[in-house]
């Protein structure tokens, strides 16, 4: 292992895949709406690790992946702000953060 000259790209990709799947699991199984938002942030971070890895290993001169990561961070910040505002508004109307009770749009 020590004769490598850098960390293999696969290591970063596997970490990001595992983080993404943990995020999906949390998104599907959480009953607290705040935890759902945290799972979304985990998934966005997994995507960011992926972009940064490719930018560093495959495009290490132009590093367009890093620019993409900055845009993803921007969108994630906006998403967190609006998501938590929606959550507060929901909590005011239904007095719960249980995802199972948010069924207004269910047919």
């Amino acid at each position: 292992m020590m004769n490598l000259e850098s960390i293999p790209i696969q290591a970063f990709l596997i970490v990001s895949s595992a983080l993404f799947c943990i995020g999906i699991w949390g998104l599907l199984n959480s009953r607290n709406a705040v935890r759902v938002l945290m799972s979304i942030e985990l998934m966005l971070n997994a995507v960011n690790i992926n972009l940064m890895t490719f930018s560093s290993y495959i495009d290490n001169n132009l590093i367009q992946g890093q620019v993409f990561t900055i845009f993803v961070i921007t969108v994630a910040a906006a998403e967190a702000a609006v998501g938590l505002a929606i959550l507060l508004s929901l909590y005011r109307n239904r007095v719960t953060v249980d995802m199972e009770s948010f069924n207004l749009l269910k047919w």
């Binding site: 960390i7 990709l13 959480s30 705040v34 938002l37 495009d59 590093i63 507060l88």
Partner: protein, 199 residues
């Protein structure tokens, strides 16, 4: 990165373990406050991974935006909505767990298979711009990514206005749907919520 490869390996392994164990903790821990603080730890470790990938600017942005803004926002949201409540039991919870876990494991195995079997066309590490990445990002943002950059600023403005509109209490004196006078206090109100009858 100019540090020795052994050090890089040790840093990578420690940071990935923190990221993965922390993420599992975020998802599984009973207390949502612990989850939020663990999430901060995960964000910091992801910033460390960025440093290993020669991206000091994005690592700093990650710490500033995620740990400094998003995580604090989440902790504030938890403080505002953290009420002990007994969740209603779901009757088919076990089958849901089994289905979602199998979906996640299938996706994970597919992703790992792609990661390991694909032949990545790695570029020459000699071409790497290393610590110059901040300069290069600035060049990108003000030349070929100028339009997305400006659109992102509009997006942030819209998100700010939207969040304010959504999160503030009604300043109208009467509720539109019920016609009752609106409670203007800042503390949590106890009277009947609008939409709880449709459970």
């Amino acid at each position: 990165m100019s540090i020795a490869i052994t050090t890089q390996f040790i840093c990578f392994i420690v940071l990935s373990l923190i990221v993965l164990i922390g993420a599992v903790g975020v998802v599984l821990l009973e207390s949502i406050v612990y989850s939020a603080f663990l999430l901060g730890g995960v964000f910091m470790s992801v910033a460390g991974l960025y440093l290993l990938l020669n991206a000091s600017f994005v690592a700093a942005a990650q710490v500033l935006v995620y740990v400094g803004a998003v995580n604090v926002l989440i902790i504030f949201a938890i403080m505002l909505v953290n009420k002990k409540e007994d969740l209603k039991p779901i009757n088919d919870i076990k089958s849901r767990r089994i289905i979602s876990t199998s979906i996640c494991l299938t996706l994970l195995s597919l992703l790992i298979r792609v990661d390991l079997t694909n032949v990545w066309s790695l570029s020459n590490p000699q071409n790497s711009i290393r610590e110059e990445s901040t300069i290069r990002i600035g060049e990108h943002l003000f030349s070929d990514y100028l339009l997305p950059f400006e659109v992102a600023s509009v997006l942030l403005l819209m998100a700010m206005i939207g969040a304010i509109v959504l999160a503030r209490r009604d300043v109208m004196s009467k509720d539109i749907s019920t016609g009752l006078p609106v409670d203007q206090e800042l503390i949590e109100k106890s009277p009947e919520p609008l939409l709880t009858n449709k459970n």
